[in-house]
């Protein structure tokens, strides 16, 4: 019994001593700042910074070659934390969040054919450009919702994607996965958007969507600096977003929405406070 205990214990002790010595001899220099930065990052490994995961970005920042404000999901707090660790000035780029430029759910927009297939927007798009008649509208099958690492996207019961401006961290994964390119990045503070992505003429748009933009120019006449009409589609000039609110009631198809008074119909998100309070529950 004693022999057993002593032998195993002895082997363990010798092994531990050998490992301890080796740990000293073969120690690898790891910049402590790199570990501190890794702690400060959100840890979602989304790749928005352009580096392989949070570890890759932490390493690059610790080497001192790149800017600390590439982590969009981390937000201003992360940029400040990293800047403090590295001992440099923090300059935050203006935060951007994603918005789905479409309000055409199943009740408001028509379908060209009945789609019975994989519930995936990219799969549906491959078949005659998707079941929705509108060429630019949201297909509502949830590919963006599945791509979002932060749970900021919800699908309304009528098949429309809606992105929470508070939960969105600006990682742009949804923008990349959408086959219709109906999701665009917008400044966080801009709450008014033209929710339409179709460049068809007004008459054609009216045939397939009740809330599509018909390029009637009323918004531009109401707030000339805040709107731009291009290829039969109006859009908000975001630097002047503050003046865009005036045209919301004037729009005949009601395709312009002021998000501070609520998200598109069917969404369960509460209207964002202005200025938008970020909720980075990464």
């Amino acid at each position: 019994m004693l022999a057993a205990v002593l032998s195993i214990g002895g082997i363990g002790l010798v092994a531990a001593a050998a490992l301890g010595l080796a740990a000293k001899k073969f120690a690898v220099e790891v910049d402590p700042r790199e570990l501190a930065i890794l702690e400060a990052l959100p840890g979602a490994n989304c790749g928005a910074c352009g580096y392989p995961g949070c570890a890759g970005y932490a390493k690059a920042v610790a080497e001192g070659t790149i800017s600390p404000n590439l982590c969009t999901p981390g937000g201003a707090d992360t940029v400040e934390a990293i800047a403090k660790i590295m001992g440099i000035e923090a300059i935050t780029a203006e935060p951007q969040v994603a918005v789905v430029l479409c309000q055409g759910d199943n009740r408001k927009a028509t379908q060209k054919y009945r789609y019975l297939g994989l519930t995936d927007c990219n799969a549906a798009q491959k078949i005659a450009d998707g079941p929705k008649t509108c060429p630019g509208g949201c297909l509502g099958m949830g590919s963006c919702q599945r791509a979002c690492p932060f749970g900021a996207i919800e699908m309304t019961p009528e098949g429309l994607a809606v992105i929470s401006r508070e939960k969105c961290t600006g990682c742009t994964k949804c923008v990349a996965v959408c086959p219709r390119q109906v999701i665009k990045m917008t400044p966080l503070e801009a709450v008014t958007h033209v929710l339409c992505n179709s460049h068809d003429k007004g008459a054609a748009v009216r045939k397939y969507c009740q809330v599509g933009c018909i390029a009637c120019q009323i918004c531009k006449k109401t707030a000339p600096e805040a709107y731009m009409i291009e290829d039969f589609l109006a859009r908000v000039e975001y630097p002047q977003h503050a003046q865009a609110v005036a045209a919301v009631e004037k729009c005949p198809t009601k395709c312009i929405r002021d998000f501070s008074s609520g998200y598109p119909e069917g969404s369960s998100f509460a209207p964002p406070t202005v200025p938008v309070a970020k909720d980075n529950a990464a």
Binding site: A3, S7, I8, I11, A15, A18, L19, F26, V28
Partner: protein
């Protein structure tokens, strides 16, 4: 001398640890996507196998048998092997960061790799002398490396082939491993036992 050669040939070809004894399948399938990582892993395994069997041989004949505690063989061997793999991990991290990045999580796999424990235990079961057990474990390591490198070469070529959709990835890899194992059966009967 001839016996040592027989042991070597047997361990590398006839009773190849991966393809004939089916030990160490985890790293075999896990690290064999590229030939370079396969060679690196093979080198690590040869080192661990040889040193592990040397140390475990001594433990068996100098500690376990004299004190009559042979029943502690498994746990003592595992203890030694685990420490050795930790040591190998540290050495690789220092000397070749590139290899460390590519092997990464697979280094601990060698610890729970049945091939390493298998060699250690087989040495005792076959009552090999010290030199014989060194040669046997060297052969086991070489055979393991040979199997992995061959398999990695095959897998690299499979990447470029039109594999049917349902077979892509692990499925075709396992089928190929089986065929490779069949091929190595051609060596059966080369040496006795």
């Amino acid at each position: 001398m001839v016996e040592l050669l027989v042991i070597l040939i047997s361990a590398v070809f006839v009773n190849n640890f991966v393809l004939a004894r089916f030990l160490g399948i985890c790293p075999f399938l896990g690290v064999s996507k590229k030939v370079e990582t396969a060679i690196g892993m093979g080198m690590a395994v040869i080192f661990v196998l040889t040193v592990a069997s040397v140390v475990t041989w001594f433990i068996q004949y100098l500690v376990l048998i004299p004190f009559g505690i042979e029943y502690l063989q498994t746990i003592a061997f595992i203890l030694v092997i685990a420490s050795l793999v930790q040591l190998v991990e540290m050495v690789i991290q220092k000397t070749s960061p590139v290899l460390y990045q590519s092997l990464g999580i697979f280094l601990p796999l060698i610890t729970t790799n049945c091939a390493v424990l298998g060699v250690a235990v087989l040495n005792i079961q076959k009552s090999y002398s010290f030199i014989e057990s060194v040669v046997f474990s060297l052969g086991a390591g070489l055979g393991f490396t040979l199997a992995m490198v061959l398999f990695a070469g095959l897998r690299e070529r499979l990447e470029l082939c039109p594999v049917p959709q349902s077979f892509r990835g692990t499925a075709i890899a396992l089928v190929t491993a089986g065929l490779l194992s069949l091929a190595f059966m051609g060596f059966a009967g080369l040496v006795k036992g």
